[in-house]
Symmetry: C2
Subunit: 186 residues, 2 copies
Amino acid sequence: MAFLMEAGRLTAVERATWTVDGARMENSAEHSWHLALFAMTLSDEAPEGVSIDRVIRMLLLHDLVEIDSGDLPFFADGAEDSAAQAAAETRAADRIFGLLPPDQGAAFRALWDEFEANETLDARFAKALDRFQPPNLNLATGGGSWTTYNVDAEMVRRRVGTRISNGAPSLWAWLSPRIARFFTKD
Amino acid sequence: MAFLMEAGRLTAVERATWTVDGARMENSAEHSWHLALFAMTLSDEAPEGVSIDRVIRMLLLHDLVEIDSGDLPFFADGAEDSAAQAAAETRAADRIFGLLPPDQGAAFRALWDEFEANETLDARFAKALDRFQPPNLNLATGGGSWTTYNVDAEMVRRRVGTRISNGAPSLWAWLSPRIARFFTKD
Ligand SMILES: [Ca+2]
């Protein structure tokens, strides 16, 4: 129960993305739920060989480290390769998964490590969804975090498109013309 | 995408339970995430034959109907058997799952109907977790919704304990002495 109550603190980690109704910033707990629902709903877009149930589990715990390290908005300065952020996340993983019985802690940690490494089919699909959800919220809220960070189409393609097309090519094919249309509109 | 963006509105549905840090009321999106993590973490407490992956999927979508019908706190007056609430939830399920392609809509709806019917092993474990999480948040926040609704130990046993012991007997065995201790303390 120590782990599950500590995990509940993810509700206090604010993200740079707006909720779909534009009412406030999304937090990492509800973001994790939304992503798991994306995985469940978009299972037909997963490349051959992906286990949706493993992807869902990966997404449920992918952001727990943010309880200690916070969410680093990926358009923020230095977000692309911050060694300090990576070190903070590793310490957070040690502490948070360390609250579990050893066997279970190791299993959860392995799933998180796999997500972070972004090499297996499951991790690449999970990571693609983690990049696919925010643009959809941004499109629904008239720009959202793109406006906050003064992002252009090329930056979205580079930071977001690369990851999405790596894990879920058909989702990027669906999304990219919508993004292009948004950025040429003004 | 219509379904997934509509689903995002679950972040605006406020529950009667406090978040674990006592900062604000929990919403149904983060509650659904927390429950799915409970299922993943407490899999050893599931009775023989339960499929945790099905339970997780059930929990991810169990509250979507609240986008239309709202959350009815289960200690509120008339919450025990409100036909009006049940009718509103059925209409909500028709509309929300109706946003999906027909096959997928039917599959998600069947999972929600199974959860509501509370008959299969998977549904009973899922429903038990839905009743098990709030008391743990209440214990962590010094009373939480029990204080709001002026609830006593007998009422918790009747409204919460029955469902938990029906789907996850070992979790009720763990929780009930903790609840008893809380209510005799004052
Ligand atoms: Ca993230």
